[in-house]
Each structure stands twice: as structure tokens, then as C-alpha cells.
Amino acid sequence: MIPHSPEGLRTKPTFLERFMKGMLASCAGLSILTTAGIVVVLVYESVALLQEVPFWRFLADTQWTPLFAEKHFGIWPLVCGTFLTTAIALFVAVPLGLLAATFLSEFAAERSRRIVKPVMELLAGIPTIVYGYFALTFVTPVLQNVIPGLASFNALSPGIVMGIMIFPIIASLSEDSLYAVPASLREAALALGASRLATVLRVVIPTAFSGVTAAVVLGFSRAIGETMIVAIAAGQQPRFTLDPRVPIETMTAYIVQVSLGDTPTGTLEYRTIFAVGLLLFLFTLAMNLVGIRLRRQIVPGTL
């Protein structure tokens, strides 16, 4: 019953062992296939589009009307819309996130940390459609009382709500890097007579700088790619403007708009969503790689 091999010791690893290893390896390789798939799909349709619409038309126009009879292909309105909402979101989330992270890392008792961190994860787990509903039905009406001329669809309301959405990301990642600053540095500053506040502002935060930057970059990336909040509350009017009170359209909302319609596959209109998607992918790819790089610097062994 004891499986001592009859040939003695001379057998190679069984077929099963090599088979299992191969199967597992191919599943790991699937992830590369996914990225390749994304790139191929986006590039393929974009190239097809470029054959009908020369590249300069994307850069030289300030209107985006590929769905209308008179077609303009300037990408700037969409890019502008995306960056306007993202900027507002960061304007909200970065100060709040950084200050909150400072509180958790430097001033909070251990018990508070243990309660707050799961609550923040809860915040991050709320589906974005819920945030979208909130932006449209609560934030916009409230702001309309305060800001004259605020349209029912605008950039301000979703921007603020997106800020709340990415707040946990920025706060949590910043808190990790602040927490990781060695106690010895803080002690050194205090021993030189600096107050606690000065230590935090002049020593701890600067030391955690690359981690905080990573948090902001990753929050930025998340905000650019956000779809539902802007699709519901920002509008469907591509507009080359920085005015947060008027309806605009983001890159992601445009893709939703076309997908909801009856656009047949293979047409020019269909291809535009892939071109916009490619642009979006490149932005977020760049941000993600930068963010991953920065995080590896402060927490070795993390990816």
C-alpha cells in the first residue's frame, strides 16, 4: 500500500504534476491575453475610424457631434468635460483625504482607527449608480438654491459626489504611507523641540510624499474612468468649457450614450466609442503605471 516506486527512485515528476503546472501557468497567462484583447479591440476599431476621419480633425475642432448629420470630431469637449469633473472631484477629495489621513495616522486612538477604516471601505464599496442618483436628486437641487444659474445637469454636482467617492481611496492610501513613516523620525523632530504640529507638517507629510502622490494619482485615475455618476448627473452635451454650471459630457458618458442607442455595429458612430475608449485607456494606463511605481517606492513588496 505504501507507494514505494518499483523502479526505485528513478522516475521524473509524474505527468499529472507537469500537466497541473501547465494548466495553472496558462491561467496566469490569461491576464496578459485580457490586456492584449483590450488593446487589440480598441486599436482595431480606432484604426478603422481613422481611415474615414483623418487624425487632424480630432485635434483641430472644438465641437464633438459625430452623431449628428453635420459631424464634428474634435475630442476637446469630451476631454474637457472629463477633466473638469475630475478636477472638481480632486479639489474635494485631496484636501479632505489628506487631512483625514493625517488625523487617522497621527491623532486618532487605535480603537478609532479600527472602526473608521472599515467604514471607509464601506464608502468605497457603494455602487456608483447610487452616487449618481444622489448627485442628480439631492446635490443638484441643494446647490441650485445656492448657486444661481446652475443647470439641472452640470459638472459641479457630479464632481463633488465623485470627490466623496474617491475620498476613501486617497485617505486610505495616504494613511498607509503616513503610518509607515518610522517612529524614529518623529522622535528625532520632537527631541529637537519641535511641536507635534510642526513634526507632522514639516517631517511626516514630506517623508510620505511619494505615497501621498501615489494615492492622488490613483484617485485621479479612478475619477477619469468613472461612468455612472457623470452619465446620470452631468448631461449629454459635449461642450468645450470650464464652466461647472452647465451641462457637459465626459468621455465615459459619451460611450454610454451611444451604447444606449441603436447604433449598428461597424458604422462610424459605433467606431467612435472605441476611439474615445482608447484615449481613456491610455490616460488611465499612464496614471496606473505611475501610481504603481510610486507605491513600490514607499512600501517595498507592494505592487
Binding site: A28, S31, V41, E45, L104, F107, I129, I164, T227, G277
Partner: protein, 282 residues
């Protein structure tokens, strides 16, 4: 100025305020939604079918769609994700290729969900001719949550102490058997928790499903893998997009159901984890 006595207290207060503002807004959000939804929440709403009249509209096809999607997504994502995690954690030697795979997975975790929708549209709906079916939707969502499953499974595997792998190898077992009989049973709580959280993420996603063309007005229950479908977030989106105020109430009610479902899933994850941990006395 930084060394003035009141400065620290002021700063501390400022930080505390910064922490509470978003949390307070979350509470406001939940309260507003629940109070808006209140008139509509009823059993008839949950098991009813959509309708042109807001007061008669129901959630059943959306609930059914979300349920099937969740199961299918889990069934697709778990084997592949777990296999990839096993390879990366137990077999792969540190090398340039492994590094690329790891960076790739972390990048995929940050790709916007709508891009997965575009991939699903071109690959599953068009190229593989799956149309706007349950299986296309589930496959798209499976790709979306796959990086999450891989990452959480790896963490679970990593938490098993090396001494048990050693003990199994010293008994003359081949590597895959030590994984199957020793390492996997011990890492099961973490793996399952990660899977449930991935499924929770999947049922909250709207954008990829819109992109693959999932119809938002479906008045029947899906009856096969190839069947068209709708899902809870899609139904909510549909209602939110209508101008009539009555439909906004429906949307709020749908959100309440969605949030309750998510809380139940998270609760399940926590319970399951505690239950399974008891079998593993470390």
C-alpha cells in the same frame, strides 16, 4: 506659528472635520434615499414586473438577472483566478515574465469598468456571436473581477505558513497534491471571502452591461444562458433617466434593495470566513 499652543488643537479639529464630512454625506445620502424610497417598498414591488406606470413597476426580472449574473460570474472567475493565483504564488520563479504578469494584473485592476464593456462588446457579443445574453454579460463581468479574485486569492495562499508545505513535501508528496490537500483547505476562508466580495462588486456594476447592450426594459425572466437580461443597477438607471418624479421614487426603492443585497453579501462573507476559520486551528 506652528508652535503656538492653539495651533495643534485647531489643526486636529480641522482634520477631524475633514474625516467626518464625507462620512456625514454618506449618512445624508442613505437617509435621503431611504426616505424617498419608502412609499414604494413593498413585496409587490420586489416580485413585480416592469411597467409603463411607475406605481405598478416591479423588480423581479432585474433581480433574477442580477442573481444569475452573479452566479455565472463567480463560476467563471473563481477557477481561472484561483489557478492563476496558485501559479503565481506557488510555482512561478521570480523572473521578468512573472514581473510583467504581476504588473499587468495590477494595472487591469485599475482599468475603468466601461473599457471591459467595450472589450465584451467586441469580443463576446460580436466576435463570438453571443449577442446580448446572460453569458456575454457574465463573461464580461468575470474579466472585470478576475484581477480582484487573483489578488485576494494570492493573499489567502500567502497567509498559510510555509511549515505546512514543508511537512507535506517531506512526506514525499508531489507539489500539486500538497496544494490540493494541505494549502488550499487552509486558505479556503480567504479565497471564498475574496470571491464573495468580487461577486458583490459585479452586481453593482452598470457601465459594462450598458456597453454590451443589455436592454434596460425587460419584462420577462431570463430562461437560458443565451437569453437577454436586465440587472438591478440597469433597472435603477433606467428609472433615474426618466423625467417623471414618480420614477425617481422607483429608482430610490431599487437602490434600497441593491444596498440591502450588498450588505447581505458582505455579511455572508464575514460569516463564512468566521465559520471556516474555526475548522482551521492555528
Amino acid at each position: 506659528m506652528l508652535n503656538r499652543p492653539g495651533a495643534e488643537a485647531l489643526f486636529r479639529a480641522l482634520c477631524l472635520v475633514a474625516l467626518t464630512i464625507p462620512l456625514a454625506m454618506l449618512l445624508v445620502l442613505l437617509f435621503h434615499t431611504f426616505s424617498e424610497a419608502y412609499p414604494r417598498i413593498s413585496w409587490e414591488f420586489i416580485i413585480g414586473y416592469p411597467s409603463r406606470k411607475p406605481a405598478l413597476a416591479g423588480l423581479l426580472p432585474a433581480l433574477a438577472g442580477s442573481f444569475y449574473l452573479m452566479i455565472l460570474t463567480g463560476l467563471m472567475a473563481l477557477p481561472i483566478g484561483l489557478a492563476a493565483a496558485l501559479y503565481l504564488e506557488e510555482y512561478a520563479a521570480p523572473s521578468a515574465l512573472t514581473r510583467i504578469i504581476e504588473v499587468n494584473i495590477n494595472n487591469l485592476a485599475g482599468v475603468p469598468s466601461i473599457i471591459y464593456g467595450l472589450l465584451g462588446l467586441e469580443l463576446f457579443v460580436r466576435a463570438m456571436s453571443l449577442e446580448r445574453s446572460l453569458v456575454a454579460g457574465a463573461a464580461t463581468l468575470a474579466l472585470l473581477v478576475l484581477p480582484m479574485v487573483i489578488i485576494t486569492s494570492r493573499e489567502a495562499l500567502r497567509s498559510v505558513p510555509f511549515s505546512y508545505r514543508e511537512a507535506a513535501l517531506a512526506l514525499g508528496a508531489e507539489k500539486w497534491r500538497t496544494l490540493l490537500r494541505v494549502v488550499l483547505p487552509m486558505s479556503l476562508p480567504g479565497i471564498l471571502t475574496g470571491l464573495i466580495l468580487a461577486m458583490a462588486r459585479a452586481i453593482g456594476e452598470t457601465a459594462p452591461l450598458i456597453t454590451i447592450g443589455a436592454l434596460t426594459y425587460i419584462a420577462f425572466l431570463p430562461d437560458s444562458l443565451q437569453s437577454p437580461f436586465t440587472a438591478l443597477p440597469l433597472q435603477i438607471f433606467n428609472w433615474v433617466s426618466r423625467p417623471q418624479a414618480e420614477f425617481q421614487v422607483n429608482a430610490a426603492a431599487g437602490i434600497v434593495v441593491l444596498v440591502v443585497l450588498l450588505m447581505a453579501l458582505n455579511g455572508l462573507a464575514i460569516w463564512l470566513r468566521a465559520r471556516l476559520q474555526r475548522r482551521v486551528y492555528w
